[in-house]
Amino acid sequence: MAPLFLLAATGNIWVLVLILTGAFGVQLIAGEPPCPLCVVQRIALMMCALGPLYLLLQARDRVLTFRDLAVGNGLSIIAALLGAAVSARQVLLHILPGDQGFGSPFLGLHLYTWCLIAFISQILASGLTLIGSAWLREEERVLWRITNVTAGAFIVIVIANLLSVIAEAGFNWNLPPDPVGYLLFKK
């Protein structure tokens, strides 16, 4: 069963990286800089990925244990709860009739609504993994070759967001509530 847990963890990270890449793509292609709450949701998505990354990194050098599964999924659940609270807040801010919402919708839903779905899905996935840990056999050592590539993709998207948020905030401590451009490049 250990390879199945590592496969699930790897898939989980790549899904989160794809969501972050999609959000970054919308920012660059549609020219919509993220608002403060959007950035916090991105940070929560990154923190969700730390759980499965923890599993992959623990399994790199030794046998995957129940403790690893508990800690890794615990990290993801805490991060997803935080993210879900922020997404729910943003959904509620735009719940009044006639409100157009913030940013362009994607497949009929705004990005913060998709984020809420993603965070709830993360909690469900982590819960299912915790239930599945009943079938883990701790004596299996697995050689998982794509840990470094997966972690590398995660690092690239975090650094891209880091540079983007620095460009957006300029030399200010906080982001403007309704950002329209990149303050670092404004004269």
Partner: protein, 51 residues
């Protein structure tokens, strides 16, 4: 800049996990607590309502 700080903390936590450092979980909890504080301050400050 505060959000850049949070992202740097995420990278720092990943670095600690990579090396199996004893601070990996405390760093994650610190990041969570700081983000939570930022969210709470945003939620309780109606004049700077962010969307």
């Amino acid at each position: 800049m505060i959000y850049a700080l949070f992202m740097m903390l995420v990278l720092l936590t990943l670095g600690a996990m990579w090396r199996g450092h004893v601070l990996q979980l405390p760093l994650f909890l610190l990041t969570t607590a700081l983000v939570l504080l930022q969210v709470l301050s945003d939620m309780t400050t109606p004049l700077t309502l962010s969307f």
